[in-house]
Amino acid sequence: MAPRLLLGIFLALVAVAPHVVSEFHVTLLNYIGLSALVALGLVLLTGVGGLTSFGQAAFVGLGAYATAYLSIGEGLPGWLSMLGGSPWLGLLVGLLVTAVVAYVLGLLTLGLSGHFLPLGTLAWGLSLYFLFGNLQFLGGHTGLAGIPALSLFGYPLKEGRSFFYVIWGVVLGAVWLSKNLLDSREGRAIRALKGGVVMAEAMGVDTTRSKTVIFLVAALFSCVSGWLYAHMQRFVNPTPFGLHLGIEYLFMAVVGGAGHVWGAVVGAAVITVLKQWLQDLLPSLLGASGNFEMIVFGIMMIVVLQRAREGLWPMLTRLVPQRSTPSAIEDAPALARKALPEPGKVLLEARSIVKRFGGLVANNNLDLTVKAGEVMALIGPNGAGKSTMFNCISGVDSATEGEVLFCGQEVTRLNSRQIARLGMSRTFQHVRLLPAMSVLENVAIGGHLRGSKGVFPAMLHLERMEEKRLLAEAARQVERVGLKDSMFEAAGSLALGQQRTLEIARALCADPCLLLLDEPAAGLRYLEKQALAELLRKLRSEGMGILLVEHDMDFVMGLADRVVVMEFGEKIAEGLPEEVQRNPAVLEAYLGGVD
């Protein structure tokens, strides 16, 4: 059965469900839908982005309380009372407040290491819960009752059955938006977060922005869930917005499959049904009343994380034949290219670079220039400081002293994203790619700066033309480096040498004028090396500048126009390949001195 058919069956089931099941089960399905909406946000955040939040229940609470307070309309201050009484205003204000809170929280924590966001949301989730319980105008611990019913097109939605369609319509809409977002340029940037910030930033992705985007989306989904909850229940109190509920939402995402959009729906269904069942079963089994399902959920979570970290969704999809992978990429007009500089023009100039790590001097007073249309090779024994130099030049790290000029502009203190925008692109000595993503998509990350469409067009898939052009460009680069046959395979399945080649394609996809390659030939076979050398010669003839770190001397000497030799952080020789090969200091560094 094709996935499309399964989706059709699922939609049909959703459509008829309220007419065939009992009132009780409709309510249960409504709760599943409300939870799925929150869990969906956590899928984006946790499974896709590698962040997490325990405070989603608090965002649900914000949505619920905002609409409760505004739509009841009692006790509103005078200037607000004319606006009162409308659930739609409640939704708008709820979304606004949620967005502001999430933005501020993100601003505070997203620049720090990954674990500060969850800890921040933990504290925030607790604070908001206590705040709801203690603010008199929100009804304190008793809450607010008498929330008006929602009405759509003049038709009041007072029953669970009619509300069902609203909830599931919103859930399916959110699934659609999320899937669209992930399948776009912005989505690739978000998925790149898991591969580490360094790579994404070097490809021009503003990772803090990407993190903020998914945190905001997750918070807003939760807020909408709260808004629906308030108008379904017609009553709110602080209990369902406490920290433990926040943690349960996370469990739903993880159990269902945190890496998959549909995992949220599966997880929400499993946990909600299980909770219902356990809340009946356990108290009578244990002879005491209380939330004993916590014990089961806690243990279940540990087992899931230890045994099946991907959750239930991948297990379910394995039961269905996989969608055949696309075999061709649609042709599309080429993306605009930057004009390459005149051959011979100085692209990169590093002046007396010093880099210290504490007491260790990794680079001492290094000078280096790379011109357009030349291959400059940086060689030296292991630990000579070549990769450190690379990092200083590309903005991954900043030099302690000295300055770097790129295309005539001082870039010493710029970060790698800003430098990438100027036209420098690089590969990494230790391959940094996203093993689960296809070769094509990995390469397309390199083209991030060549697109401009943002999150909203991506969610609505209004950026298909740009996306086609980006993918076509990525496909051209994949083909160019000779990986055409594995274009749709997972990048992690390639041999190490090919993964390095993939990184070159990714760097090329950025349309650079200067290419920094960190050991590109390592792990390649003889013929592959020849092909790589051929490619680099071609790029050189087009006017690109190439800075190369490499250990394979045959490769370097056959290709480089100039060579710089480093040892212990210092430059010991510079010149044409033949000159360097005869230099006594170089011979001593490589072969040891003759006593």
Binding site: T46, G50, L51, T52, F54, L108, T109, G111, L112, S113, G114, H115, F116, P118, L119, G120, L122, A123, W124, L126, S127, F130, L131, N134, G196, V197, V198, H244, I247, L250, F251, V254, L286, A288, G290, N291, F292, E293, M294, I295, V296, F297, G298, I299, M301, I302, L305, Q306, R309
Partner: protein
């Protein structure tokens, strides 16, 4: 507010702060050694306090059953592993710690009638039951995932917290308990009256901090833990078992947690879920130190205690809100002062 009230609140704050400080030290320790953000630390506080309260009420605490069950689970997993790897010489140790020890503990609890023992013996017995749960939980929940990302370990922590809170409710019920003070003495210093319990808490905290310092500076195991915290791979190459380091840090954390519970139980009524909030306050302290510095974490925790005491006077309903929003200025400060370095995952 007059000076007398201020002094009283200050005393309260420092007493609670000392306990938060102990917890924050344990949290920093566990994070440094294992990269686990140890949310369940607070449950050990509650388990310690409520186990002691159970003894005093003449009941058998549920933690005994948990110790036996966890011991059996660990023994099954470890024996399975040992039989597969054919390292049979490890068997006596596994059986001893995980099956024999809980059995002996159970025998002692049933034979001695802890309700009639002196307080000190009750405390020791409570620690005997609760502390070994630390390394057992490490073995069951964390060890199979020791190489996972901080994020996964954090989610495990939350899951353990969930399970332990539920079990706490099952073992001790929803009612809170308070244990008698260690001493009824009180000392007058002009306006200030210092209770015996305050002296105990401060003295015991100070003692534990000094003991920890000596442990890390002077003993080979302490140094092994520090080495693991600095560089896991490097430590392993030097023959330090990261499993041992993990279990040891969880043992210390459980000891600190349970002992803190015993200390705080005469001051505050402890419910099955109180530990979580107490533990989180330790966390706020630990975050002040960026989850890395012991002295700053301890100072931060004492600050949290003081803040809590004074805000309970001015705005008691918003006490918790105020304490947990302190984290915001701390985070601002951290994000302004730390340059982000990518985690190695």
């Amino acid at each position: 507010m007059d000076l007398q009230i201020a002094l009283l609140l200050g005393q309260d704050g420092i007493t609670n702060g000392a306990i938060y400080a102990l917890l924050s030290l344990a949290l920093v320790l566990v994070f440094a050694v294992t990269r686990v953000i140890y949310i369940p630390q607070g449950e050990f506080v509650a388990y310690g306090a409520l186990t002691l309260a159970s003894f005093q009420a003449g009941k058998t605490p549920g933690t005994l059953w948990l110790l036996i069950a966890a011991g059996i689970a660990v023994a099954i997993l470890d024996l399975h592993q040992v039989l597969r790897a054919r390292t049979l010489r490890k068997i006596p140790r596994i059986v001893g710690w995980n099956l024999l020890y809980p059995a002996i503990a159970a025998a002692v609890v049933f034979l001695l009638k802890p309700g009639e023992l002196p307080l000190l013996a009750q405390i020791i017995l409570a620690l005997v039951l609760v502390v070994p749960l630390g390394p057992m939980i490490y073995r069951l929940a964390y060890q199979p995932l020791a190489e996972a990302s901080v994020l996964v370990l954090l989610i495990v922590s939350v899951a353990v917290h969930f399970a332990m809170t539920g079990l706490g409710l099952l073992f001790f019920g929803a009612e809170g308990s308070r244990t008698p003070a260690f001493s009824d003495a009180s000392f007058e210093f002009g306006l200030l009256t210092v209770t015996g319990q305050t002296v105990w808490v401060l003295g015991a905290s100070l003692f534990l901090i000094v003991a920890l310092y000596l442990f890390f500076e002077r003993t080979i195991y302490g140094k092994a833990l520090r080495a693991t915290a600095m560089n896991r791979t490097g430590a392993r190459l030097m023959g330090i078992s990261t499993v041992m380091a993990g279990k040891l840090s969880f043992l210390l954390a459980a000891l600190i947690g349970a002992f803190s519970g015993v200390l705080i139980a005469p001051i505050t009524t402890i419910y099955y879920d109180t530990g979580f909030l107490i533990g989180l306050k330790g966390f706020v302290g630990a975050i002040v130190g960026g989850l890395g510095s012991y002295p700053i974490a301890a100072a931060g925790a004492i600050l949290v205690g003081l803040l809590e005491a004074f805000s309970s006077f001015w705005a008691s309903a918003f006490k918790e809100v105020i304490v947990f929003t302190v984290i915001i200025p701390v985070l601002i400060w951290l994000s302004l002062t730390t340059r982000h370095v990518e985690e190695e995952e």
